[in-house]
């Protein structure tokens, strides 16, 4: 229902899914879009599966939670099992290619299932710390929900204080977004 793009992003606590959601929604806000972002949270301070539910559209967003996402991303084995329920026939399901032992748990009803080598790419070509920004690139690549320019602007806004101390980090983050988009484009989704 409604025309907003629905994104569910899940990973282990500490993998940075909420940071990704914050930067992505900030970028959408900079574009003047309507957004609804709700983090899933429990009583634990650390650990556990962390999920970000994000909706971005041109009109005011209705309900905060949704049953089926347009794009559902899982960054760990537990996350795959947890967010499977948010996959439907229209969903693009993305997971990291390095996750092992989930073959049986992958959703059977998705429109498309993409295993992207995000972790490997981040580790080998960039830096492990920009893994989550690379994932954000993958979301943008699959949905075109914000432009690369606004994504970079949002990264600058959120992490600019870190870039001042370490300017190389800026380039690394910008490259990570572009690489993420590329990974998904290569799979013929965008």
């Amino acid at each position: 229902m409604g025309k907003a793009v629905k994104i569910a992003l899940a990973g282990e606590g500490g993998q940075g899914v909420q940071s990704v959601a914050q930067i992505l929604t900030e970028a959408a806000a900079l574009e003047g879009k309507e957004i609804l972002y709700i983090p899933n949270f429990g009583v634990e301070q650390r650990g556990g599966v962390s999920i970000a539910f994000v909706q971005i559209g041109d009109e005011k967003i209705g309900a905060p939670k949704f049953k089926t996402g347009d794009i559902v991303i899982a960054l760990s084995d537990r996350a795959v099992r947890r967010v499977k329920m948010h996959v439907g026939p229209e969903t693009i399901f993305v997971y990291d290619a390095s996750i092992e032992g989930v073959e049986e748990d992958l959703p059977a009803n998705a429109r498309k299932i993409l295993a992207i080598p995000a972790l490997e790419t981040a580790n080998k070509e960039l830096h492990p710390r920009v893994f989550n920004v690379l994932i954000m690139g993958a979301v943008i690549g699959a949905t075109r929900v914000v432009t690369v320019e606004k994504a970079k602007e949002a990264i600058e806004k959120k992490l600019g204080y870190k870039f001042e101390k370490d300017p190389e980090l800026r380039e690394l983050n910008f490259k990570a977004v572009e690489k993420g988009i590329e990974l998904v484009e290569r799979m013929g989704v965008a």
Binding site: M1, I38, P39, F41, G42, G62, A63, P64, K67
Partner: protein, 366 residues
């Protein structure tokens, strides 16, 4: 220090808790009293971050009993004071708010409902409706606004201060963990720029002049020796509550004329209900919705009018029949069938409501 927290108005993207803190600031609140509990913590956090720039005060108390009583103290001193809590904290808050009810103290309390009973979840529910409306050892002479968006949170937090100080009944902004934690756009504004005049505050105690000579004595009571004495005071308060209720009542309704199905929901669940209803109405179904914005006082006549035209009703809530009880009470005597979708402590999607509504409209479900 000194200048207005918000000049004119601006569109921002923030959490509901942040919107509440900004609203309290915009409303000219002087002090917040509070004790931490998820999911309302960030109201305190933002208030303490924003407040000092505008000479605002904050006191963290030892628990919610104390937070409620100190809020009463702040009001007695003539300060626009408020507190915020949730779940088990709301349970403790009932003791001081009962006193506020007895003494007609214009307290403002923001509630971010979490799962219950007891500690349950820190996430979300609509299970604090009965508690917030009728939680004290009294008659529930209070005002309860149920919000469904960040705009509501901002608007009704400002309004709560005016309702409280104008009518002198404890006033609650009833929200939930979803609204507290989610981020969405909201237009924040200076009330004055919108023509909203804040009702001035005044001290209840320590006024100038000699009591009995220059002014009546301030005689605030919550204790009575004889039954009739209590009845006399309560009768006066009840009469006044019922007299001003029509001025306070707020609701929203859509497509209620001769509906085959009328969906009733409040708070954040109303958003899902509205989406489902509009989608089905677009498909040609005769379906409408009714949303009480004030749960106390309740828009009784308006709901009765909509309900008596409907073939059946569907009450939807993230609780096991708390709104339902209020609806049934207010519709007593009408024989329209009431169906339910009750999901205590969990969110409800538009798809779930649409599915239930379709089944009812097709006569497939009794």
């Amino acid at each position: 220090m000194g200048s207005k927290p918000i000049e004119g108005e601006r569109k921002v993207f923030m959490t509901g808790n942040e919107a509440v803190a900004w609203a309290a600031l915009a409303a000219g609140a002087d002090i917040m009293y509070g004790y931490p509990i998820t999911p309302q913590n960030e109201i305190m956090q933002y208030w303490t971050r924003l407040g000092p720039k505008y000479n605002k005060k904050f006191l963290q108390t030892e628990d919610e009993l104390s937070a409620g009583f100190t809020t009463i103290g702040g009001v007695l001193a003539g300060r626009r004071a408020f507190t915020a809590t949730a779940g088990p904290g709301n349970v403790l808050m009932q003791e001081p708010m009962s006193m506020a009810e007895a003494m007609r103290i214009p307290t403002v309390v923001v509630i971010q409902q979490r799962g219950g009973p007891s500690t349950a979840t820190v996430i979300y529910s609509q299970q604090e409706v009965t508690l917030t409306c009728f939680g004290g050892n009294g008659e529930g002479l209070r005002v309860v606004y149920s919000t469904s968006s960040h705009q509501d949170l901002f608007d009704y937090t400002i309004k709560a201060f005016n309702t409280a100080w104008k009518y002198r009944f404890p006033t609650f902004v009833l929200s939930d963990g979803y609204q507290a934690k989610m981020r969405e756009s909201v237009v924040i504004y200076d009330p004055e720029a919108r023509g909203i005049r804040m009702v001035p505050t005044e001290p209840f105690l320590g006024k100038a002049g000699t009591p009995g000579e220059d002014r009546p004595a301030a005689h605030l009571r919550n204790t009575y020796n004889i039954e009739e004495e209590l009845l006399e005071v309560l009768s006066k308060d009840i009469e006044e509550y019922e007299r001003v209720a029509p001025e306070i009542i707020e609701y929203d309704a859509y497509n209620t004329e001769n509906a085959d199905l009328l969906v009733i929901a409040h708070g954040v669940v109303f958003r899902s209900a509205a989406m489902a209803v509009k989608e089905l109405a677009n498909q040609g179904y005769k379906i409408g919705y009714f949303r009480p914005i004030t749960l106390r006082p309740f828009p009784r006549e308006q709901l009765r009018q909509a309900a008596q035209q409907a073939k059946q009703l569907l009450v939807v809530e993230s609780a096991y029949g708390q709104l339902l009880k209020i609806v049934q009470d207010n519709l007593y005597g009408l024989n329209v069938p009431i169906k339910t979708l009750l999901r205590p402590g969990v969110g409800i999607t538009p798809e779930e409501i649409a599915e239930k509504a379709k089944a009812l409209l097709a006569g497939k479900e009794a």
